[in-house]
Symmetry: C2
Subunit: 228 residues, 2 copies
């Protein structure tokens, strides 16, 4: 079976539910090279632990953990700057305080450099446009532009393409897809604020609990119930 | 005078001659935010010292030094991997062993994230297409694609543009431009192999010495003479 998976794919695995489902999608067709980027997010310790669990779960061929200290150094986001409080954004559509400017471009560049060296031809990322009214780098147009950059900015023979298979899905569709692919949701982490028990109140916890509720699935981390 | 320079520009300052001339170009019109990225290049200590000298010389408003450890971690380039020897490339047009995949994209992403936070509207980079038969990320098409990515991947009001004012120049034209703008060439470093005295034999030393010779200018670092 695995002998037939000839091509290698880099998968950006944050440790959250979206990247877990994306890993499940990629694992269907590709050999896996899992990449985790620590950019100083508050819940990094927990997310990194989830990354290693997911790598083990899928028996990934390669795993790489990379530090990008500059995003926290530059500041401006509540996700990396502890002086800015984590609060639910009042108006959906506004750029939330967790926004890290050009974050996905920074992460994808790491993935492209690695892909070119190891000969991977696909890069999977769990971006979701539905989350995106506030995040310019979670939209389809962003990935189209990024792929054009990859095409002209890498060796012609590298033939690398970024794919975002969840981009058009709703969060509950992602949960259902993950369930169908037996994605290990129990190994994921979503909370922006805490690392032991999900806070249940940050944007990311709210999105997750609503998704599981709507999909009619029990979240193994229990945030769904705690929101009732 | 400086009161009239309203806009802030991020300038990528490696410490080499091209970025020094680009700093001189940017300083004509913009307030300066100088950015140096350490990605594990062999001559980093000397390049960083040059960066600080150039920042001081131009009295830059902001200066930021950022570590990108992953490019060396990923490997594959003689510029960051000490197991790969620095050798002159035999055939111009081939990708040289100093090539770091997608390097300029990685560096520019740092610049864009910083620019969005500090409100800079331009990002200057000293890329030169003439150096580029081997470097996919030194060509005009690359910067066109990158600017499209910036347009769709940042806040609409950020209005950031990457400019590469030397992109179409020959190396000797760059030297002449630098002389005209009184760029402090004595504060720069080009050698890929050594940090104390230029080796005079690596691709970068050869490019530099030929450029000064052709421009009829004495290189204050003396590499021109040492090549005779």
């Amino acid at each position: 079976m695995s002998e037939q998976k000839k091509e290698l794919a880099v998968v950006l695995v944050s440790g959250g539910m979206d990247s877990c489902v994306v890993t499940a999608v990629a694992a269907e067709t590709y050999r896996l090279a899992c990449l985790h980027v620590n950019y100083g997010q508050r819940t990094e310790r927990r997310e990194l632990a989830c990354f290693h669990e997911i790598v083990k779960h899928y028996d990934a061929e390669k795993a790489l953990v990379v530090d990008l200290p500059h995003l926290a150094q530059i500041g401006g986001s509540s996700l990396t700057d502890r002086r800015i409080p984590i609060t639910p954004s009042d108006s959906p559509g506004e750029i939330p305080p967790t926004y890290v400017p050009f974050r996905n471009a920074n992460l994808l560049c790491v993935a492209v450099s690695w892909a070119e060296i190891i000969g991977a031809t696909k890069i999977f990322i769990g971006a979701v446009e539905q989350d995106a009214p506030g995040y310019p780098d979670c939209r389809t147009v962003f990935y189209r532009a990024f792929n054009e950059l990859v095409r002209v900015g890498t060796r012609p023979e590298a033939d690398i393409e970024v794919v975002a298979p969840l981009i058009g899905m709703t969060k509950d569709e992602i949960v259902r897809r993950g369930v169908a692919l037996r994605a290990p949701f129990h190994l994921t982490w979503s909370c922006y604020a805490q690392q032991d028990v999900p806070c249940g109140a940050c944007d990311s916890c709210l999105l997750r609990s609503r998704a599981f509720e709507k999909a009619g699935v029990t979240d193994p981390l229990g945030t769904g119930r705690s929101r009732r």
